[in-house]
Structures are given as C-alpha cells and as structure tokens.
C-alpha cells in the first residue's frame, strides 16, 4: 500500500543537505513556528511535502515559489522539528537550485537582488560595504526611493562610508568565488 519511492528531487536534496525528506510526517510544527509563514505563498511543511513528491510539477512549483525566498534562515523550524530534520537547509538548497536555473520568483525579485548585490560587493573587495551594496541593490531592484532619507543619517553616524573597506589579497577572494561558481554542479 505505502510507497517508498524516492523522487529525484528528494535524492538531490538529501545528497546536498543530508536531509531525508521521506522522514517528514507533515505535523506542521515548522509552519506553526515560522515567523515568515505569513509572507510565503506556500507553507514550510508544504515545501517539505512537495520535495517528497518531487515530480516535475512539484519541482517547478518549488523553484518558482516565493516561499523559498521569504525564509529568513532563523532556524526555528530546524530547532523544533520532531524528526530532527533541517527544513532551513532544504530551503537553502532549493534557493540555490532556483537561482542557478533562472527560475526565481518575480515576486521575490527584490530579495534575490539584495543577496546578489551583497555577494557582488564581497567579490569585488572581500568585504561588504554598505554604500556599494545599497547602490548595486537599488540599480538591480529598481527600488530607488525607499530608505533614501536614512542615508544622510547613516553618514553622520559614521555608518555609511563612501570609501570602501577591502582585503589586501583581492585576487584570492576572486579565486574563491570563481572556484565555487565552477563547482556548481
């Protein structure tokens, strides 16, 4: 009666996170404690269920979902899972897949743009600098006007530097980024 078939998606997730989603019995505790559930188009336990199903339609729905990007990585689900699963790691894995395959949700455009702008700032100088981060984010998200009023207040407080902080060995940082990019299998 019961099926023990493991979907291709479930195997991929298991290989990358060590999480065997088949062990999830859909109690919903992850969703109950999730502070971001209200901002998701599917709940964390539904994400786990779709990974279990893992057919083409389920995979498409997951990779294009807003839910995976609305996860804040707070680890509440992982802390409380009665099966000791790690939904937060599953979310990380799905986000990476979604981004790699160019399927990220349009509704999550600003969130994706922020993460990319952050890494761009780190790749170029080894450290995150608020000014280039905000500039890159605004250009990519076309969200030009929010928080503009905060900028001068941050400059006055020495919290927004026009001159970037960088590591000395910038070539090494670029090599690390390149190696990780190459390795994305």
């Amino acid at each position: 009666m019961s099926q023990t078939r493991t979907s291709q998606l479930a195997s991929y997730v298991s290989r990358h996170t060590g999480v065997n989603v088949a062990e999830c019995y859909q109690c919903g505790k992850c969703t109950a404690g999730c502070p971001m559930a209200a901002y998701m188009d599917m709940s964390p336990n539904q994400v786990m269920r779709l990974v279990q199903i893992g057919d083409e339609a389920a995979t498409e729905a997951l990779l294009a979902s807003e839910a995976i990007w609305a996860c804040a990585g707070c680890l509440t689900c992982t802390q409380r899972c009665p099966r000791q699963l790690d939904p937060a790691a599953v979310m990380d894995c799905l986000r990476e897949m979604s981004c790699k395959q160019g399927k990220a949700s349009k509704a999550a455009r600003k969130i994706v743009a922020f993460h990319k702008a952050f890494l761009k700032s780190v790749e170029s100088g080894g450290r995150m600098n608020e000014f280039p981060l905000v500039r890159n984010y605004k250009l990519a998200s076309r969200d030009f006007f929010s928080d503009v009023a905060l900028a001068p207040a941050m400059v006055v407080r020495g919290k927004l530097h026009l001159k970037s902080q960088r590591v000395r060995d910038k070539a090494e940082i670029r090599r690390i980024f390149a190696a990780c990019r190459e390795a994305r299998r």
């Binding site: 502070p35 990585g73 990476e96 922020f114 984010y137 941050m154 994305r184």
Partner: protein
C-alpha cells in the same frame, strides 16, 4: 594582559560600529587585548548561504585558516551572524572529510580546525568571571529585556550549552550591571534579519512585535548582542507604528554598552550617541552614581 583573536566582521566597521566601540572600551577595562585577524574577509552572511552552499563555507574557512596561521586559538566573533557562519563552518568541516578536502582546493589553504570560535555572550560571561564584575561600580538601574534573537539561541552544535527555547547568560551579565531583567516572551523571536531593505514590511512587523512585547512586560530598553537585530530594532521604529512612531520610542542597547555604562565609562565613548533611537537620555537619566565603598 590577556589576548584573544578578534573577527569584527563588516557590520562592526559600519552599521554596528557602537558594538565595536563599546567592546573595545570594555576590553580595555578588563585588560584584554583584541588581536584582529589580519586581512579578514566577509563571512558571506545570509547572502552566501542563500545562493551558494560552497561559498557559505569557503568564505568563513579563509578567515579560520588565516587566524590559525596567525597563531590565534580562540576567536571572538561579536556579530551573531558571523559567529554562526564561522562556528558552523568548523562544525561542518569536522563532520565531513570530503567537504574539508574540497575547501582545501577552493581556498588553497590548509585549515586544521584548531580555532575555537566564541560569541559575545560567552566572551562577556568569561570577562565577568575574570574580574570585570568587580569593576561595575556604577549600576545602571534600568528595566531591560534580554534579546537573543535567532543566531545566539539556535543552530545545533553551534550555540552550545544553551536551551534554544530559553537561553540564559545574558541575564546574569545584565544583573551584574545593576539592571532589572524582565520576564518576557520574545527573547528568541526573529527580527526579520537580512530583509531590512528587501522586505521591509516583514522587518517592521516582526521587530515591532518584539518591541511591543518588551514594553508590555515592563521593559524600558531592549538589550541585544547582534548588530543585525540592533539595526532592525533601533533604526526601524518609525515604521513600527503606534507608540514607536513618536515619543514612545524605546532605546535598544548593546550588551557591551550596558557593561560600559555600569563601569562608569563615557556614553559617547561607547557609541550611545550614534543610535537612531535616543539612548543617551535613558542611559544618563538612569545612571546611578558610583556606589560608596564598592571599589
């Protein structure tokens, strides 16, 4: 003078510079020298683990390898996110020889796993036990809520020796500083973290709920040890609505600022004048005079 390795992370040079300033002041008082990891890089924060699982380990790994090479055995990472990424990397590398091998390829560095990473709460508890408690001569009579947030309470094998639902450590430090610590419900709730710019309404909702519970439970200030939490709670009060828009704003203090005040250090030297929500008046109004004979 004792020495400890120091990983400030990007925030402590920018948005969270009060944490760096107050930490340095408190360490000076405690006779501890902070030895900054030479040429450290960003830990990758939220963005790296969202987009690349390898980068999320490789970036912290370079820092740990540098620290090891520079003879650092204990490394303080005051930012909760940096702490979680650095210590999480130690845990992952120890667990998987395959990952450790891969990181040697990616970083070109041979990290042997000898650097122990400490968070701010652990470090402060140690300072107090090592004699800092006796230097807190100017008790700060303030009712405070001790706020841990996510990454100082959760993360298996990362935050050690803590009950994830009911952490402690910060309370003892605050009581040593003379504060009254309120019993409240949101000590480990998420502030919205890295969504400050990209999903601001979620941050004002979540951070607002934290502030409201602290106030309902009698707190006059919230104390945090995380620069991301601090930025969300301190800078976003206007968007939280209700009392927090106007006169009813609530100061958000760093743990090290509270300790510095209790030691009688200058509020400005601790960075209290750099907050978005006024912290100077709360600190000075409530700052009791040095206690006679306690020196």
């Amino acid at each position: 003078m004792k020495t400890i390795g120091y990983y400030p992370g990007c925030s402590l040079h920018g948005g969270g510079r009060e944490l760096d300033m107050s930490l340095r002041e408190v360490c000076r008082l405690a006779g501890v020298e902070l030895r900054e990891v030479d040429d450290w890089n960003c830990c990758g924060a939220t963005a790296a683990h969202n987009l690349s699982h390898e980068l999320a380990v490789a970036l912290p790994c370079r820092n740990l390898a540098l620290a090891e090479q520079q003879g650092i055995t204990e490394l303080l990472a005051p930012c909760a996110a940096c702490f979680s990424r650095l210590k999480g990397t130690n845990v992952r590398l120890a667990r998987s020889a395959e990952l450790a091998g891969r990181m040697r390829e990616v970083t070109g560095r041979d990290y042997r796993g000898t650097v122990k990473v400490l968070n701010l709460n652990e470090f402060v508890s140690r300072l107090l036990a090592d004699g800092l408690a006796a230097k807190l001569i100017s008790p700060l009579a303030l009712k405070v809520a001790a706020y841990y947030g996510c990454l100082l309470s959760r993360g298996q094998d990362i935050v050690e020796g803590q009950d994830a639902e009911n952490p402690d450590g910060m309370e003892a430090a605050l009581r040593a500083a003379g504060c009254e610590v309120v019993d409240w419900n949101f000590a480990t709730e998420c502030c919205g973290g890295g969504f400050s710019m990209s999903l601001t309404p979620a941050v004002t909702d979540l951070s607002g709920a934290i502030m409201r519970d602290a106030r309902a439970c009698g707190a006059e200030a919230i104390v945090t040890a995380c620069p991301m939490c601090h930025s969300n709670l301190d800078m976003r009060q206007k968007g939280m609505g209700g009392d927090f828009q106007g006169a009813g704003r609530m100061p958000v203090l760093y743990l090290t600022e509270v300790l510095g005040l209790a030691a009688g250090l200058e509020p400005k030297a601790l960075g209290l004048n750099l907050h978005f929500t006024d912290a100077m008046s709360a600190a000075s109004a409530r700052h009791a005079q040095p206690v006679e004979g306690s020196r």
